[in-house]
């Protein structure tokens, strides 16, 4: 499903160089649930931005669903983001001027669905995350946990098979965090491919497999990572 091979991404700020990705390779099979775990500044978000086609690596190959992303045009990248990838961000990233329903509808507008179909799918997605009774609420009228569930519904509505979640519980108390994690578990059991980014070991353990990040490099086990 996701094949990343020898990815490099280096930032130069002043005369400091930061290796945000340093020879990072990763294979994620369809329907796999992978956690990416590492301390702050280790390159987790950079990796997710590359996987989500929001950013391009300096070098290396990234094949998504058989397509070499480096060769895609800007419009093709938009299409991949629209149809193949659902994002769940730490800061929720919902639009404040719109209701929960409209937020969930948004990706479907860019898939050029009719209004009727959009509303149907958005309602079904909100139903899946247990928010059918909050459809007309604005994000500011929802709790953090509910906002994150709206964001999950938005990722589900687009029919994407890959869900990328960057610290989805980072801004939540432990109870709503657990709710969100249960939801992600369920999606995993329903066959979604999930890449979950976290710095929390305990949360990482809920995944089928954990990859550890240190200074832009990926390790298969904590011991390997600690040796650094």
């Amino acid at each position: 499903m996701l094949i990343l091979e020898h990815l490099y991404k280096t930032y130069y700020v002043g005369d400091e160089t930061v290796h945000a990705l340093d020879d990072a390779s990763l294979h994620v099979k369809p329907a796999e649930f992978v956690a990416i775990c590492g301390p702050s500044g280790s390159g987790k978000t950079t990796l997710m931005n590359v996987i989500g086609c929001l950013d391009q690596p300096d070098s290396g190959r990234y094949i998504l669903d058989g397509v070499d992303v480096a060769e895609c045009s800007d419009n093709e990248l938009s299409m991949i983001r629209s149809e193949k990838i659902g994002f769940v961000f730490q800061q929720f990233n919902l639009l404040d001027s719109m209701s929960a329903l409209e937020n969930v509808e948004l990706p479907l507008i860019y898939q050029k669905l009719s209004q009727k179909e959009r509303i149907e799918r958005a309602k079904a997605a909100l139903d899946q995350v247990g928010l059918s009774n909050r459809m007309l609420h604005r994000p500011s009228q929802l709790s953090g946990g509910q906002q994150q569930r709206v964001a999950i519904a938005r990722a589900l509505a687009s029919n994407s098979r890959v869900i990328l979640a960057d610290e989805p519980t980072g801004n939540l108390d432990s109870k709503s965090g657990n709710d969100v994690m249960r939801m992600i578990q369920r999606l995993s059991s329903e066959g979604y491919t999930i890449v979950l980014i976290t710095h929390n070991e305990e949360i990482a353990r809920q995944a089928q497999r954990t990859v550890y990040v240190r200074d832009g490099r990926l390790f298969r086990s904590l011991e390997e990572a600690e040796q650094l």
């Binding site: 938009s78 507008i109 860019y110 050029k112």
Partner: protein, 384 residues
């Protein structure tokens, strides 16, 4: 197409969400459109009232006037013009400004002392009653033929034959009503020339209409009239002979230049309005950077973002244009009420102004929209 309507709905919503800011943004456009439409409409309707007055007289008409106050010509002097073979008729006239009163209603009028031929030569038609005739002049009667505007002002009715009014200390009886012409002639009162001379306390006459035998002989008639006036006054600088169609052409030229100038000034204010829109759109793009990032992350293309902001700019400018159109209709009503005339909206100016608004929306919205669409998703997402 659904994309377009979605963007449109979104643009309407963000315009309405920030009513005060949207209004201030549109203000430049509103004022611009208002000034275009109001100025051009007033210029146009003033011109058409004057040109109507002149062209109703016909293009075979000349006006002869004495410009030197020391030269006094009388009726007989002017009638010598009629002896030329290129000239079909002469209608000397004498205008006295005065106030007419009926009951407690006053109105200021220009009373024109005329001969029996005046109405035919000047091209005025009777609605009812009779005109001024030779015996009126002979007896210096206090009879009057009034324009429809005067009838309305004085009697509030068109049934005026036999009614009387006071003017310059005399009681005049209305014997005829002129048909409505839509020109300044509607506020005229025609009285016998001899009566006007008595009111003015002078036999001096300064102007006359001269009718050529046909429209083709106007030039000959003009030469003959100029020759005879030279004989009468012995001073070529003391009189003028105008050809009506020449006058009309000059007037047209002046007025279209004026309209163009007014339109140009107003167009500049529209342009300034456009810059205001660009300014606010740039602010809006900066404010909504994160929104742009989110939209891109969930699948928006560059063209979608571009369209969203472009349509928003167009909505602002077109809405501003429509509000400006509405306000200028209102403004013209009020102006018409104050100036006591009806001024129609000049639709060509209105349409051009609105089209201009679309152009401004696209032109000044393009840069902010392009700026928004060129942002990379992470760049847009990382900014808070």
């Amino acid at each position: 197409m659904t994309m377009f309507f979605n963007s449109l709905r979104l643009a309407m919503r963000s315009t309405l969400a920030n009513k005060m800011r949207s209004f201030l943004t549109m203000l430049g456009i509103i004022i611009g459109v208002m000034s275009v439409i109001i100025l051009v409409s007033i210029a146009q309707s003033t011109t058409s009232s004057i040109t109507n007055a002149i062209s109703s007289m016909g293009s075979d008409l000349l006006t002869v006037s004495v410009t030197d106050e020391d030269i006094t010509l009388d009726l007989d002097d002017f009638m010598t013009l009629a002896d030329y073979d290129g000239i079909a008729g002469v209608a000397p006239y004498l205008t006295v400004s005065s106030t007419a009163r009926s009951g407690s209603t006053y109105t200021s009028v220009s009373a024109v002392g005329v001969t029996g031929d005046y109405m035919e030569i000047a091209g005025s038609d009777l609605e009812s009653g009779r005109g001024i005739v030779a015996s009126d002049l002979e007896w210096r009667t206090y009879t009057a033929v009034i324009g429809s505007g005067v009838a309305g002002d004085l009697f509030e009715s068109y049934d005026v034959i036999g009614k009387t009014f006071k003017m310059s200390g005399h009681t005049f009886t209305v014997v005829g009503l002129l048909s409505e012409s839509g020109s300044s002639n509607d506020s005229q009162i025609l009285i016998p020339l001899t009566t006007a001379q008595r009111i003015a306390d002078s036999t001096a006459i300064t102007s006359a209409y001269v009718q050529a035998t046909s429209t083709n002989t106007v030039d000959i008639a003009q030469a003959q009239a100029e020759y005879q006036m030279l004989l009468l006054t012995r001073d070529e600088d003391s009189y003028d002979v105008y050809n009506m169609s020449e006058l009309l052409d000059t007037l047209d030229d002046v007025m279209s230049t004026l309209s163009l100038m007014l339109g140009g000034i107003a167009a500049i204010s529209l342009l300034v309005g456009g810059i205001g829109i660009m300014n606010i759109m740039l602010v809006s793009v900066a404010e909504r950077t994160r929104e742009i990032g989110i939209r891109k992350a969930i699948g928006a293309r560059r063209s979608h973002i571009m369209m969203q902001f472009l349509i928003e700019a167009c909505v602002l400018s077109i809405l501003g244009g429509l509000i400006g159109l509405g306000l200028s209709a209102l403004g013209l009503q009020i102006f018409g009420m104050i100036a006591d005339m009806t001024i129609a909206i000049e639709w060509r100016a209105a349409i051009i102004a609105l089209l201009f608004c679309v152009v401004i929306g696209v032109a000044f919205g393009s840069y902010p929209a392009a700026k928004a669409s060129k942002m990379t998703p992470i760049e847009a997402l990382q900014r808070n």
